[in-house]
C-alpha cells in the first residue's frame, strides 16, 4: 500500500503552496529589500492556495479524510479554508507599507511567520485526529506569538507577545492534557471514532477531558473566563497582527471548536456535559465583553472587547446543533470577518502611524471624520452599524437573527434574550464613534489640531471596499452565503 497517494497531496495543495511561500520568502528576503515585493509575493502564494481550495470543493465528500485519517477533506473544512485564506489575503493588503511604520524591521521573517500561522490555522480546522489538531493549534499560535512581538523596539509589542505566549502556552497545556485523557479513555485519536467510545464510557475522566479541551478552545476564541489576554495583546501588537488575530485566528478557533464539540462530544450524553458550561460562558462573554467595551477610548481596545462580545454571540449557536445553529455560526463568522477587517482597515487609515503615541488610535482622532474624509467615514459607519446589528439591509443584523433564532428553536430562550439585550447595549459604544465622526460641532472639536489624513493607499482602499461590498451584499442577499452554509452543515 502506498504511503502517500497523489490524491492525498492534492487534498492538501493549499497547505503546500503556503509552505512553499513561507520558505521561499525567506530566500527572497536575502536578495531584495523592497517592501512591496515581499507583500505581493505573499499575496500571490495565498491567492494560489485560495484557488486550489476552491478546486478542492469538487473532491470533497462528507466525512472524507486524507493522509491516513489525519485531515478532513469535506465541505466544512473547505469553507473555513476559504474564509481563512480570504482573511489572510486582506490582512496582507493591510500590512503593506504599514507594518514597517509600526516598527517591524524583519519584513521577510514577518511574512514567513504570517504564512506559517495561516498554515496552522488551516490544519487546525481540517484536522481529523487529535495530534494533528494540536499541531495545527501550536503552529498557528507559535507563529502568532512571534508576530505580536515583531515590533522589536516597542515595549507594548514585547508585552503583548510575552502575555500571549505565557497564557497561550498555559491554555495549550490544558488542551493537551484533555486530549491525552480522551486518548486514554477511548484508545483512539480520531475525532469521529472517539465519539462512540466516549459517549458509552462511564469513566469519571470523560467530563475532565471535555472540560480541559473546552478550556483550550475558550482561550483561543477569547471567551470570557479566559479573555483577559485579549485587550492587552490586541492593543500592543502591530495593528495588522491585531486584525489577523481578531478575524482569521478567531474563525479558525470557532471552526475547530465546532468540529470537536459536535463530532467527538456530539452525542446526547456528552452534549449534556458541555452544554451548561457553554451556556454560562456564552452569557458571561456577551455581558462582560459589551459592558467593558463601553468605557474604552482606544479604538483597538474597543474592537478587542467587541470581538470578545461577538465570540459570545457565536457560542450561543453552538448549543443548537440540530436547529440551524451550524449554518448560523458559519454565516456569522464570515460576516464578522468582513465587518471587523473593514473596521480595522479604517482604524489603520485614520490612526497615527506612530503607534508609540499614547493616543495613536484614540476616539478623538475620528472627530469630524465625516467632513475630513466622507468616504472613509461612510464605510466606517457601515461597519459599525453592522457590528451593532442595527439597520436591516446590513449583514450584521441577519447574522444575529440566525444565531438567536437557532437558540430560540433549541429552547434557549433565556440565552437569546440576554444576547438581544447585550446587543442593544453594544449600540452605545459603536454609535459613539459615529457621533464623533459626524455630530461634533466644529468649535468643540480639536480635529484642526490633528495632522491631516494621509491619502488612503490603493491596497487599503481595496480592503475597505471589499469588506463594505460584502457587508451590504450579504445584508441584501443573505441566501448567497446562507444556502452555502446550510449545504456545508448538511454534509458535516
Amino acid at each position: 500500500m502506498e504511503i502517500i497517494s497523489l490524491a492525498d497531496l492534492y487534498s492538501i495543495s493549499p497547505l503546500l503552496f503556503l509552505t512553499l511561500g513561507a520558505f521561499g520568502i525567506l530566500i527572497v528576503d536575502v536578495f531584495s529589500k523592497e517592501s512591496w515585493l515581499r507583500a505581493s509575493y505573499t499575496s500571490i502564494f495565498i491567492l494560489a492556495a485560495l484557488s486550489f481550495a476552491f478546486q478542492l470543493a469538487d473532491v470533497a465528500a462528507p466525512g472524507k479524510t486524507a493522509f491516513w485519517d489525519a485531515i478532513y477533506v469535506d465541505s466544512f473544512s473547505i469553507y473555513f479554508q476559504v474564509l481563512i485564506l480570504v482573511g489572510a489575503l486582506l490582512t496582507v493588503m493591510l500590512s503593506h507599507g504599514r507594518i514597517a511604520q509600526e516598527g517591524v524591521r524583519s519584513l521577510g521573517e514577518f511574512y514567513a511567520l504570517f504564512l506559517m500561522s495561516t498554515i496552522g490555522a488551516i490544519i487546525f480546522v481540517s484536522a481529523a485526529e487529535m495530534v494533528t489538531l494540536f499541531l495545527g493549534l501550536e503552529i498557528m499560535s507559535m507563529a502568532l506569538y512571534c508576530m505580536c512581538g515583531s515590533a522589536v523596539h516597542s515595549k507594548d509589542s514585547a508585552e503583548s507577545a510575552l502575555k500571549y505566549f505565557f497564557l497561550g502556552s498555559f491554555s495549550s497545556a490544558f488542551m493537551l492534557f484533555g486530549i491525552a485523557l480522551m486518548y486514554g479513555v477511548s484508545g483512539t485519536l480520531s475525532l469521529a471514532e472517539s465519539a462512540a467510545v466516549l459517549s458509552s464510557s462511564n469513566s469519571g475522566l470523560v467530563p475532565i477531558a471535555v472540560g480541559f479541551v473546552l478550556i483550550g478552545f475558550v482561550f483561543k476564541i477569547g471567551a470570557v473566563p479566559l479573555h483577559f489576554w485579549a485587550p492587552d495583546v490586541y492593543q500592543g501588537a502591530p495593528t495588522t497582527v491585531t486584525a489577523y488575530m481578531a478575524c482569521v485566528v478567531k474563525a479558525a478557533a470557532v471552526g475547530a471548536a465546532l468540529r470537536v464539540l459536535w463530532t467527538s462530544f456530539g452525542s446526547d450524553t456528552l452534549f449534556g456535559i458541555w452544554a451548561s458550561a457553554v451556556w454560562i460562558i456564552a452569557a458571561l462573554t456577551m455581558v462582560v465583553g459589551n459592558l467593558v467595551a463601553l468605557r474604552q477610548r482606544s479604538l483597538k481596545r474597543m474592537l478587542a472587547y467587541s470581538s470578545i462580545a461577538h465570540a459570545g454571540y457565536i457560542m450561543v449557536a453552538f448549543l443548537a446543533p440540530h436547529q440551524g445553529g451550524g449554518s448560523a455560526v458559519l454565516f456569522y463568522i464570515a460576516v464578522y470577518t468582513a465587518m471587523t477587517l473593514g473596521a480595522f482597515g479604517v482604524v489603520l487609515a485614520v490612526a497615527s502611524p506612530h503607534s508609540s503615541e499614547p493616543d495613536a488610535d484614540d476616539i478623538h482622532r475620528f472627530q469630524r471624520l465625516g467632513y475630513r474624509n466622507p468616504v472613509l467615514a461612510g464605510c466606517m459607519t457601515l461597519f459599525l452599524l453592522s457590528l451593532a446589528g442595527l439597520p436591516p439591509g446590513l449583514a450584521g443584523l441577519l447574522g444575529k437573527f440566525y444565531v438567536f433564532n437557532a437558540a430560540v428553536q433549541a429552547n434557549y430562550v433565556g440565552l437569546a434574550i440576554i444576547g438581544v439585550l447585550c446587543s442593544a447595549v453594544s449600540c452605545y459604544y459603536y454609535l459613539r464613534v459615529i457621533v464623533a465622526m459626524y455630530f461634533i460641532p466644529k468649535e468643540e472639536s480639536d480635529s484642526d489640531s490633528l495632522a491631516p489624513l494621509a491619502p488612503v493607499s490603493l491596497p487599503f482602499a481595496g480592503v475597505i471596499g471589499i469588506c463594505a461590498v460584502a457587508v451590504v451584499t450579504l445584508g441584501l442577499f443573505p441566501s448567497i452565503l446562507h444556502d452555502g452554509a446550510q449545504f456545508v452543515i448538511e454534509n458535516f
Binding site: K33, W68, A100, Q101, E109, G204
Partner: protein, 172 residues
Amino acid sequence: MNIFFILLSAIALSSALGVILMRNPIHSALCLIVNLVAIAGYFALLNAHFLALVQIIVYAGAIMVLVVFVLMLLNSKLEEQKSAGLFMLVVSSVFAVMFIVHMSKIYGAEFSTSGVASASLQGTVANLGRVLFTQYVFSFEASAVLLMAAIVGAAMLAKTTPERPRGDGERV
C-alpha cells in the same frame, strides 16, 4: 512488581524530595536530573525504549543543562529562608487537593488498550518509526513547520537591528 521498579521508585521519590528540600539551587537541579533519569528507567521497564532515551536526552540532558546555565549566569544568591505567606499556602493547598482528586479519578480508571500494538512491539524504536512514517506522516511533516516557525520567530526577535529601518524609509 519487580526489584527494579522498587529500586527506581526509591531513587525517584528521594531525589524528588531532594529537589524541594535542598537549600542550594544547583543541588536541587542535580537532584532533578537524578529524578528524570529514574523516570526514564520506568519507561524502559514499560518497554518504551524510545521514550526512555528521549527522556534522558531532552530532559535530563538539554533542559537541565539550560536550567543549570541559567542558575550560573544569573549568579543567584542562596535563597533566604522565607516563610510561606498565607496566600501561597491557600493556593498551593487548593492545587494539591485538585491534584489528589484528579489522581484518585485516574487510579483504577479503565484505559482502553484497543488501539495499542502488541506488547512485544510497542514503544520500540523500529515500531515507532514505522508508525511515524505511515499513519502519522502528516503530523510528522507538520511538526517540521512548527519547528521552522519557532526558529524563524526566535531569529526575528533576537536579531538586533538598529532603530533606523533597513530599506523602507517610511518611518519619518
